[in-house]
């Protein structure tokens, strides 16, 4: 399996190198939104004498810088790709190879993140300095951030695949995945740090999986939660990953049967 991954990586890195410029532009584009939200919250905080609940201007800056980083590392666009593959019949040859099609997507995903991480860090460093971000993270937070962002990325990836498999049943995957993306937008911590969401909304956000994709790792990196809370949140992330992994097994098996049953 390691050899398979090595070969897939080599191929994908080559393919991706032809789209380096596009990838970086995409990445820059994806940073714009959090920066707009950051600017908005800074304006709100300043109007209220410098803070909103427990967050001051510099906390917001740290949060949104962390969130941008996490969003990039935990983004997943499988549903769109997958729908395309199903529609164009490109999934069929993959199904006839002794390798689960998800592995190609894993590699694609990781390679995309590798090609964009360095320019992303530079841009975020620049944003952090401009807004004078204050990170409260201790070394322990930084260590905990690693599993947290990996779990967040895995959760987003697996969730994306569960949504993508709807392509086996419907041609309207776009509607389904748009709905999913909206939910991510609202509940994953983009609009506001989860801690600042009003009561009911915060409870919902903590029950749903979306916050565990992005908001949680961002808060850990920022140092907004204490270490025991961080460990608890990571445990919940792991549970969500396990749930989505199991869910994917089931929908994939049923879905492929459906796909190959009706005509591939």
């Amino acid at each position: 399996m390691i050899d398979v991954y090595r070969a897939l990586f080599v191929g994908q890195i080559q393919a991706a190198s032809q789209y380096r410029v596009q990838s970086v532009l995409w990445m820059l584009f994806s940073v714009i939104r959090p920066v707009i939200f950051l600017a908005a919250w800074v304006a709100v905080a300043n109007a209220q004498g410098g803070r909103v609940a427990s967050y001051d201007v510099r906390d917001f800056a740290a949060y949104y810088v962390a969130l941008s980083l996490v969003s990039n590392l935990a983004t997943s666009w499988n549903a769109y790709d997958f729908e395309f593959e199903v529609r164009m019949g490109r999934l069929s040859p993959k199904l006839l190879r002794p390798l689960h099609p998800i592995h190609y997507a894993v590699v694609e995903n990781i390679v995309w993140k590798m090609t964009t991480i360095i320019p992303l860090l530079i841009v975020l460093g620049f944003v952090a300095v401009t807004f004078d971000a204050r990170f409260r993270a201790t070394p322990v937070h930084l260590v905990l951030f690693v599993p947290s962002v990996i779990l967040g990325g895995s959760l987003a990836f697996l969730g994306g695949w569960v949504i993508a498999t709807s392509a086996f049943w419907t041609t309207r995957v776009h509607a389904v995945s748009t709905l999913w993306d909206r939910a991510v937008f609202i509940f994953a911590g983009q609009i506001a740090p989860l801690a600042l969401l009003p009561g009911a909304l915060q409870t919902i956000a903590l029950v749903l999986p979306f916050g565990y994709m992005r908001g949680v790792p961002a808060e850990i990196l920022q140092g907004a939660v204490d270490v025991p809370t961080a460990m608890l949140l990571i445990a919940v992330q792991a549970i969500w990953v396990a749930i989505f992994y199991a869910l994917l097994q089931v929908v994939w098996r049923v879905g492929v049967r459906q796909y190959t049953g009706v005509g591939a």
């Binding site: 191929g11 393919a15 190959t260």
Partner: protein, 335 residues
């Protein structure tokens, strides 16, 4: 005869298609009760193929050829019936089966467009777990046979259709499959590329002993490659036997071509010998009953004497036979 490599029994595949109707009322109605229709793409076919055979799988558009190949390669679940390929049930898609089989479709691509084929080959090598040495040997052979030297290092999307098809062939054979399903492998290629692919398939079969089931609408492919053909129509098996006997069983006539000396053509009435189907200067083609053909030819030679410059008796062209088969319903099978 040993165990057949491909063993198909009463295989059926029915597609259930939803009929979409125009108009709002019909659309609303379709939410309540959908208009369903069954398409019997494969309606119960049975055949066996032995190791090393190259069999032509013929039939008009929509006959069920691609559907059958998809079932046999494991991409589709059949509605009923049984199939074993290399002893495996294809649609279980066990890795041990996938490793020994390939499905190549002339109008589909499985290569990554953005990278050179050589790199795709490497990925496939790892996926199929081909040891380095056999990988090098296989790629070497394929490169030689298909003349790929200059092609494998260019990104696939920069290749012409024919070049890409050659590279697709190589990609589909990296695992050295024992069974190959080829669905219209020469579609859209120019004549010389078609014959190049044809020679390759023949040579590949000779070298590796792989069993090949191939569909094509180009009779030249079939004539060049297949001693045996299976003909299906509307999902039913029409004929299974030697290509050489197809004409005999399916077309009960022969073609006599008589070339007459200058001027004679105008004066002699050849309609008495058979149905005149063509006339070109002194050359006349006659369609005659298969059984009666030798006797007619003899009479022509006797009665025309000096006026006859040349004469030949042949089976009708294979295209014509096939066309005749397709325009009829079930004829029965030869076994």
């Amino acid at each position: 005869m040993g165990e057949p490599i491909i063993d198909v029994r009463d295989l059926r595949k029915t597609f259930r298609v939803t009929e979409r109707q125009e108009g709002l009322a019909a659309t609303l109605r379709s939410f309540v009760r959908r208009q369903r229709r069954d398409v019997n793409a494969v309606a119960g076919i049975t055949f066996r193929i032995e190791a090393g055979e190259v069999v032509g799988f013929l039939g008009p558009n929509g006959a069920g050829k691609t559907t059958t190949l998809k079932v046999l390669s494991g991409l589709l679940y059949p509605t009923a019936g049984e199939a074993h390929v290399l002893g495996f049930v294809p649609w279980r898609r066990e890795n041990a089966y996938l490793q020994q089989m390939t499905l190549l479709m002339g109008n589909r691509t499985q290569l990554v467009w953005d990278i050179p084929a050589a790199d795709s080959f490497r990925v496939l090598q790892e996926i199929y777990g081909v040891p380095d040495e056999s990988f090098r040997r296989t790629v070497g052979e394929l490169t030689e046979l298909l003349e790929l030297q200059d092609l494998v290092h260019k990104p696939v999307r920069n290749l012409s259709l024919g070049e890409r098809m050659k590279v697709e062939f190589a990609a589909g054979l990296i695992q050295s499959p024992r069974v190959a399903f080829l669905d219209e492998p020469t579609i859209g290629l120019d004549v010389s590329m078609q014959s190049r692919i044809r020679r390759f398939v023949a040579e590949y079969n000779r070298r590796t002993g792989a069993t090949i089931l191939l569909t094509s609408h180009y009779m030249d492919d079939v004539v060049a490659l297949c001693r045996r053909v299976i003909v299906i129509h509307h999902g039913h098996l029409l004929y299974d036997g030697p290509l050489a006997d197809l004409a005999e069983r399916m077309a009960p006539y022969k073609i006599i071509t008589a070339t007459l000396r200058d001027g004679a053509a105008a004066t002699i009435d050849l309609a008495a010998y058979g149905t005149v189907t063509g006339r070109d200067e002194g050359r006349v083609t006659l369609k005659v009953d298969r059984q009666g053909a030798p006797e007619r030819a003899a009479r022509l030679v006797n009665e025309l004497g000096e006026n006859l410059a040349d004469i030949s008796v042949e089976d009708p062209p294979i295209e014509e036979v096939i066309d005749r088969v397709f325009s009829e319903e079930r004829v029965g099978t030869a076994t």
